[in-house]
């Protein structure tokens, strides 16, 4: 019995820590992109290192959670879904890290006129992921509140799509001075930022189904 209690306690701590990492990772991504747009490369580098360590820790926690859930047969009926959810949420921080790394390597030349739009895009995308975390936490304590928490996720995801579409329109229709290669490069960066909200939506869909299933 003592083994169960210890394992359960460890698992709860690990899951909480995992979500903390995702929360922080999303915040670091937003601040990192902002620093890049403001040409503050020292802060950008600092954020890049920070997200790198957060992502590594999240990966390790994900493996530990999965491992403990299987070996100790925790939550056997919902284990696969929980493991999948953790996996998809981990992809969010993976994507955030990969986006900042791409920006660091490729150093896209973002026109100053689009700074505000890019900040709005990163904020909307980061908000989608940030709102997913309390919903995912709620699954473990108050599953009946998950769906109301998810409403914000879907709202910010739609916002992200709108902002991304708006920027693409500006780039391709209102900025003839930019050559096609630069336009394509910017579109690629937009897709990267947008990907975070898409992954958050994917996780939200899984979570929504899980919440119904656990309540029945």
């Amino acid at each position: 019995m003592a083994l169960f209690t210890r394992t359960t306690k460890n698992l709860i701590i690990r899951i909480d820590e995992f979500f903390d990492n995702i929360d922080l990772g999303v915040l670091v991504f937003r601040e990192g992109l902002k620093a890049y747009l403001e040409k503050d490369m020292d802060t950008f580098e600092r954020h890049l290192h920070k997200i790198d360590s957060l992502e590594n820790r999240a990966d390790k926690l994900q493996r530990e959670i999965e491992n403990e859930m299987i070996t100790h047969s925790i939550l056997p009926q919902h284990r696969e879904e929980v493991v999948k959810l953790i996996d998809v949420i981990d992809e969010i921080i993976d994507s955030a890290k990969s986006s900042l790394n791409e920006i660091n390597i490729e150093r896209p030349d973002i026109p100053a006129a689009l700074n505000k739009n890019f900040i709005a895009l990163s904020e909307a995308s980061a908000n989608t992921a940030a709102e997913l975390v309390p919903a995912a936490r709620a699954y473990f304590r108050t599953p009946y509140t998950v769906r109301e928490n998810l409403l914000k996720v879907y709202y910010y995801e739609t916002e992200t799509d709108k902002v991304a579409l708006g920027i693409k329109k500006i780039i391709f229709q209102e900025m003839p001075e930019l050559d096609l290669a630069r336009k394509n490069h910017l579109r690629y960066i937009i897709s990267h930022i947008e990907n975070i909200s898409d992954l958050a939506q994917k996780a939200a869909d899984i979570l929504s189904g899980m919440a119904i299933k656990i309540l029945i």
Binding site: M1, F4, T5, T7, T8, L11, I12, I15, K60, R63, N67, T71, S73, I74, L75, P76, Q77, Y139, F140, R141, T142, P143, Y144, I214, I216
Partner: protein
Amino acid sequence: MILLFLTSGLFLGWSLGANDASNVFGSAVGSRMVTFRKAAIIASVAVIFGAVIQGAGASDTLGKLGSVNALGGAFTLALAAAVTVYVMTKFSLPVSTTQAIVGAIIGWNIFTGNKTDAGTLSKIVSTWVTGPILGALFAILLYVIIIRIKKASKIHIFRFESYIRTGLIIAGAFGAYSLGANNIANVMGVFLPSFNLEPLDLGLFFLYSDQQLFLIGGLAIAAGIITYSKKVMETVGGNIVDLSPEGAMVVVLAQSLVLFIFSSSGLSSFFVRSGLPPIPMVPVSSSQVIVGCVIGIGLYKGVRNINFKLLGQIAIGWLSTPVMSGILAFFSLFFIKNIFGIDVGYKITDENLQTVTATVYSGSNMSLIFKYILLGATASGIIAALLYYLFERKKMKEFRLAEKKFWKNMP
């Protein structure tokens, strides 16, 4: 020879252990929340305790239905019941050991010309119906309480699951205890009038004649659990796993409560002292009670598609099992008496009522045999528990080493 006569009862006990243990631990083992080995050990110990401590109540009622006054008769009845259970299980028909033994006793009554006590019979039959209904009511009540506590406490799902896991083990142990207490009457009840053994001094307490028989029956049930219930738990138990873990625990707990109520003479006395009618001490079918519990939760959750086919099968089982067992017992008694010339019992009249006790098998030799059987079983149990502990310890050590190695090599 006397022990040979007991084999049919032991076979019945074995099949009861193999089949009915799944009602108690099926959901826990089927959902892999509790390992089979752990479940089997807990269930075996609890079932023996239940049989020895509390087995007398339900056995008395069966005795009133028909006091089988020859060992040959008891052997034949237990065999007829066991064969009925086996055949009906083989054809996937719902079967209850209780109903089989009741049918066999009625068969004996008809064969020997004894009158079946209508009052006792109606008391037994009424509990077959009230058992599942009571199970459903208990299940709903317990489920509502647990769900409300879960919602109000905002407990972490993992912590809740850990409590449920512990709850499943405790409820399972209670269930196995109640199963032993209630259903031992089916296994050994018919043999009781034929045995009068010397009390066995165990230092701290005495084991009286009935309790020694119950102990042997309990050991047979435990053997059924250990040797054959794994498969049943993993398949039959799977039907209950569709419920949430808390639902599964509630079902086991509600079923255990029903079995406990129908075998607790202390509770019945308390009812009488409180001015309420006494609770009948009757062996009930754990399989049918558990179906009642599952349906109770289904009704509470608003499930519309209740399996009426299953309900119909149970209702048919109420009739077909005792009839089949009764007919089989009647013809078996005929063959045993007329072909093998073995005494299967006689009609109890006012004249020979006093001589009934004189036909019992007693003596210090018999008691000595039972003492050795008990010592042997206890010693085997201790050795098995010790081996299990060492095996588990070794497994855990290997697992910890593998874990350590894995995380050491992890980038």
